[in-house]
């Protein structure tokens, strides 16, 4: 199974880490849904469904791999900034967000201010669901038109190319009936009968209610702008090239069971569970997998490696998970991507915050947080104390000893010097960051205090690029594509060890080889005269 596992894992990695999609989420539909969600019993559920148990039981089963690719980390050419720098011909307008805006407009416009009804309400619901399920993350390539696909998800077996899911009849899903749509969304089967790669998290979406599937379908068909563009075909190497192999996998993989009734009327915990499992597919990354790559349901949200980034244990364990967080902390984190003195989202989680959770309604964020914080505690192999508890401000040593060196002296530096030259300008010589925490402190920081150095290394290599609300959090990466500074494997290792020793739980003895294995970019473009 190793090939298959690697395939899926890397798909996952790439998965949420999606590139540069500046989806302005539906302006008004969340409001619309919030209104209905806030008054659960006003309307009878359209279908009389038996009330579901509200126990947030660490859950039946859940999703498979998410989809996506790592455009942000693999492609450092300027992405969706307004005018593209880097000498791309000067084309100022962000066609992407413009197009998105246009695509979204009918939904928002139609529902402005008033409580939507009928078809409008359904479209508004569909728009919100698309955001909560983060469809755009995978189905839009950087700079591409919304939902027109084309994003390449790098896997060792080749690239899985996200498909065009706009309602264009020829290149998209315009010819799909609602039943066809449902079959793809919940069962991973295309209209032509072939199987989707589980890069598409249909095992999670299987948990969506009929009503929500219908709303999502209506929104895609009526609001999303058709785009007559055919993305490249996915062309994997054997055996993954056999889409039929997916049938066998589907047979053994666990799936969500469809929820029933009107999901907007659920009580808080049931709503939270629905959001976590059927829509946001949290477990896709945060639940470790068994040898068949199914999520281990007895380790729900207990943490798993995505090959590069590590999706940490977010169970309610006070030592291994986030049991020391309040519901408000978690809501703030999901809305803004950061909580001062605890954690900040980078990599795939930053993408999830940017494209999805930051757009959820307040009620939904509280529902999601309340549910997550009730997930059964699981100890962690590497984290034996709260990750955000470690460290304190520490004055870095006085290293002002030498005079200026000649400009061609590019000798590799040691940890204190690398920190001084590249980190201290923002994070401070004492690691305290800025007073407003735009630049976070390095102590009381889950990324630094974690038992696994993976995410610290990934952050140093790839940086942080996360927009939530009005805040665009940004830290440059220091990988081989960096404009700011390109660090060698040995330098990243030395820096990681210096930071964890100074502000975290101790020297993690990270080796250059580990850094090399996590470095997803192409090798340093100009092997500078390192070590000369």
């Amino acid at each position: 199974m190793p090939d298959f596992r690697t395939l899926l894992c890397s798909a996952l990695v790439a998965g949420t880490a999606l590139g540069g999609v500046a989806l302005a989420p539906v302006a008004l539909s969340p409001v619309a849904l919030a209104q209905s969600a806030d008054k659960p019993a006003d309307k009878p559920a359209p279908q009389s469904a038996p009330a579901q148990p509200t126990v947030p039981a660490p859950v039946a089963e859940e999703g498979k791999p998410a989809a996506g690719s790592d455009a942000k980390t693999s492609d450092h050419s300027p992405t969706s900034q307004t005018p593209a720098p880097a000498g791309e011909a000067a084309t100022p307008a962000n066609s992407q967000s413009a197009a998105t805006g246009a695509a979204m407009a009918p939904a928002s416009g139609a529902n402005a201010a008033a409580q939507p009804e009928g078809a409008d309400a359904e479209l508004a619901r569909g728009a919100y669901l698309a955001t909560a399920a983060d469809c755009v993350a995978c189905h839009t390539k950087p700079g591409g038109k919304p939902f027109a696909g084309g994003l390449k998800i790098a896997t060792p077996m080749g690239d899985v190319v996200a498909t065009n899911i706009t309602p264009d009849p020829q290149h998209g899903i315009g010819s799909y009936t609602e039943a066809d749509f449902e079959n793809a969304l919940r069962h991973g089967v295309r209209k032509d009968g072939s199987y989707l790669y589980p890069v598409m998290p249909y095992v999670s979406y299987a948990g969506m209610t009929d009503q929500d599937v219908k709303a999502l379908y209506a929104w895609f068909m009526h609001v999303v702008k058709p785009v007559a563009e055919a993305p490249e075909e996915t062309n994997l190497s054997f055996p993954a090239s056999l889409r039929s192999a997916m049938m066998a996998w589907n047979f053994v993989a666990s799936k969500e069971t469809p929820e029933t009734g009107d999901s907007s009327t659920y009580d808080q915990l049931r709503r939270g569970r629905y959001l976590a499992n059927a829509l946001e597919h949290c477990g896709t990354c945060h639940t470790p997998r068994n040898f068949m790559l199914s999520e281990k349901q007895d380790h729900y949200l207990a943490g798993g490696s995505l090959g590069t980034w590590y999706a940490p244990n977010v169970t309610s364990s006070k030592t291994g998970g986030i049991g020391d967080w309040s519901e408000d902390d978690l809501v703030a984190y999901l809305r803004t991507g950061r909580v001062a003195g605890r954690a900040q989202a980078a990599g795939p989680m930053a993408e999830a915050v940017e494209h999805s959770t930051s757009h959820l309604t307040d009620a939904d964020l509280h529902a999601l947080a309340a549910f997550i914080l009730k997930v059964a505690p699981m100890d962690d192999d590497a984290d034996h104390a709260a990750r955000d508890a470690a460290g304190k401000a520490a004055e870095t040593p006085d290293i002002r000893t030498k005079g200026p060196q000649r400009i061609d002296d590019l000798a590799e530096m040691d940890g204190p010097h690398i920190y001084d030259a590249n980190c201290s300008a923002c994070h401070g010589h004492d690691g305290a960051g800025t007073r407003d925490h735009y630049v976070p402190s390095l102590f009381n920081n889950s990324t630094v205090g974690a038992g696994r150095p993976d995410n610290l290394i990934m952050t140093i290599l790839n940086g942080v690029d996360r927009t939530a609300g009005k805040e665009h959090a940004f830290m440059p990466g220091f990988d081989g594509q960096s404009n700011v500074q390109r660090l060698s494997d040995a330098e990243v290792a030395a820096l990681t060890n210096y930071i964890t020793a100074t502000f975290g739980t101790g020297d993690h003895q990270v080796t250059p080889e580990l850094v090399k294995s996590l470095r997803k970019d192409t090798p340093v473009v100009n092997p500078l005269a390192k070590g000369k």
């Binding site: 880097a86 060196q405 000649r406 530096m413 300008a425």
Partner: protein, 545 residues
């Protein structure tokens, strides 16, 4: 030593600064093969940041960049200098500094990204002074915008603050917030003078841009931005390399070869640091090696065919040297504390003297209220006044929060007598002569500086200033220009309106050396715009040939 295998590309560029690297980037993206020869080494930021922090003399802009022996640059602005030898009545006023290394001199600049005014291109026609360029503002406008996007320039909304250079698009990024010190200054100017203070356009991030962070106001743009929020040429090098351009560091070009008719350049030769010679051939050649080194290279390439140097049938190579030689004063404000030094170095300008009818007799200028940290200056002053102990600390606090530094960019005129030549006595380790410059400030500029002094004195009075310290004589601004001057007549100019040399049809120059006048705004954005226009010309000729 025998040459290695001859290298070849469609376009061979000498120099990897903002001009050379941005041309390389444009061409490589269009699928054209490019080789860039850089005399200096590859460099990186972290070593410069460490050099800066280790430096005792922080205001020394060249300090963190000690040159390599095979590609010397001026070590400082002191005359006599052991690389750039200036002489003449205003030798000190032309003591320019620049950097020879990958990415070029924008490693240390303040990011000021001015467009020239339309009148700057027509000084002769409008005011009967100097020369006209062989192009108009409108010709350059699209390339100005392209350069602003490439660098990431922030600036004011043109509807609210018109800087005099018509724009078709807004700035790529919003203007920097005005610092506290600049706000105080602007308030004073608004209330007590007929002048105005405007936001200075800056190649500096006011939001994440080009995978670089937002400016945090470290206040040491010069000598080195520690976080990469300010543009420098190394980003264009990186982008060009990613697009396939080949950069060769430590390649000191010393010879430009031509065909037997002396009409086309056929190749260039360079030394590596061990003085092995290498040859690079191509279809087109661009010299983008900074005003001083570009002229030097053309002169060094003199041979029997061109005894006065390449592209020099007019005799104007090395002549018409200009700068924004200006006036500088530092004083202690008697008004409220300003606390300068919070934010980038240069963010605001008095722009009322950039143009006017008086330009028929005296040069234009702009005024910077420099927003640099003044603790160093204040400490020296407090000590020299004899303070000790607690009083010394209080004085440092008071003086550093009340110090005001003003300087001006005053317009020069192209005067053929202001001339760069090759040193007959000083050579580098490769045997290449050092540059020498004769400089006498044009009367036009002297009058401009006199006007500036009056304005500065008025400002000092308005701020109840004391302890004036005027920089003696004139203040070089490191904006050398004019050494391969542009014009329509091959008899008195070196390049045409497309920066193509009159003498050699496939040789272009991308540098401030082509400027016909120097205007008042910092030169870099105009250098970049001209370079992008050269790239545009080359693309048209190579792709449609």
């Amino acid at each position: 030593m025998p040459s290695e295998q001859t290298l070849s590309a469609d376009v061979v560029i000498v120099g990897s600064g903002v001009a050379g690297s941005s041309i390389a980037n444009e061409l490589a993206r269009a699928g054209i093969s490019v080789i860039v020869l850089e005399a200096g080494p590859r460099v990186d930021r972290q070593h410069f940041v460490e050099n800066f922090r280790n430096l005792e003399n922080k205001p020394s802009y060249q300090g963190p960049f000690p040159a390599v022996p095979w590609a010397r640059h001026p070590p400082n602005q002191i005359t006599p200098n052991d690389y750039l030898h200036t002489n003449g009545p205003n030798a000190e006023a032309y003591q320019q500094v620049y950097l020879r290394m990958m990415g070029g001199t924008t490693w240390h600049w303040a990011g000021c990204a001015w467009r020239y005014l339309p009148s700057d291109f027509e000084l002769k026609t409008r005011y009967g002074q100097g020369r006209d360029w062989a192009l108009k503002y409108e010709d350059l406008e699209p390339f100005y915008y392209q350069a602003e996007v490439m660098m990431g320039v922030c600036g004011p909304d043109p509807a609210k603050e018109d800087l005099g250079s018509p724009r078709k698009q807004p700035y790529p990024m919003e203007a920097l917030p005005i610092s506290y010190a600049a706000q105080q200054f602007r308030k004073l100017i608004d209330e007590k003078t007929p002048w105005r203070v405007v936001h200075e356009p800056q190649a500096r991030n006011t939001r994440p841009y080009d995978n670089r962070p937002t400016c945090e106001g470290h206040n040491n743009c010069m000598p080195i931005c520690p976080i990469g929020a300010m543009y420098n040429g190394s980003y264009s090098v990186y982008h060009a390399e990613a697009a396939g351009a080949k950069f060769i560091p430590n390649a000191v070009v010393y010879k430009i070869e031509r065909d037997s008719a002396n009409k086309r350049v056929t190749g260039v030769q360079y030394y590596d640091p061990e003085k092995n010679s290498h040859r690079v051939t191509g279809k087109y050649f661009v010299i983008a090696a900074h005003c001083i080194e570009t002229a030097k290279l053309l002169l060094v390439s003199a041979d029997e065919q061109s005894p006065d140097g390449v592209a020099n049938s007019s005799g104007h190579v090395g002549r018409n040297m200009m700068d924004h030689t200006g006036v500088q004063v530092t004083f202690i404000s008697g008004d409220k504390a300003l606390w300068p030094g919070r934010g980038p170095l240069e963010t605001n300008v008095i722009d009322n003297f950039r143009d006017g009818d008086w330009r028929n007799e005296r040069g234009a200028y702009l005024v910077h209220m420099v927003d640099d940290n003044q603790v160093d200056f204040a400490t020296q002053m407090a000590i020299s006044k004899g303070y000790v102990g607690r009083e010394l600390e209080e004085q440092i606090r008071y003086l550093s929060s009340h110090t005001v530094r003003l300087f001006s960019h005053n317009e020069a005129l192209p005067d053929p007598d202001n001339r760069l030549t090759l040193s007959k006595t000083n050579k580098d380790i490769l045997g290449i002569p050092h540059p020498e410059v004769y400089y006498k400030l044009p009367e036009y500029t002297v009058k401009s500086c006199e006007h500036t002094r009056k304005v500065f004195k008025e400002l000092i009075g308005l701020m109840h200033g004391t302890d004036e310290e005027w920089t003696p004589g004139y203040f070089p601004q490191d904006h050398p220009s004019g050494s391969t001057i542009m014009g329509t007549d091959p008899k008195d100019s070196v390049v045409d309106g497309h920066c193509r040399t009159h003498d050699h049809e496939n040789l272009f120059i991308a540098s401030s050396s082509v400027f016909s006048t120097v205007g008042t705004g910092n030169i870099t954005l105009t250098v970049a715009a001209l370079a992008l226009r050269v790239a545009d010309t080359l693309k048209k000729e190579l792709l449609h040939a």
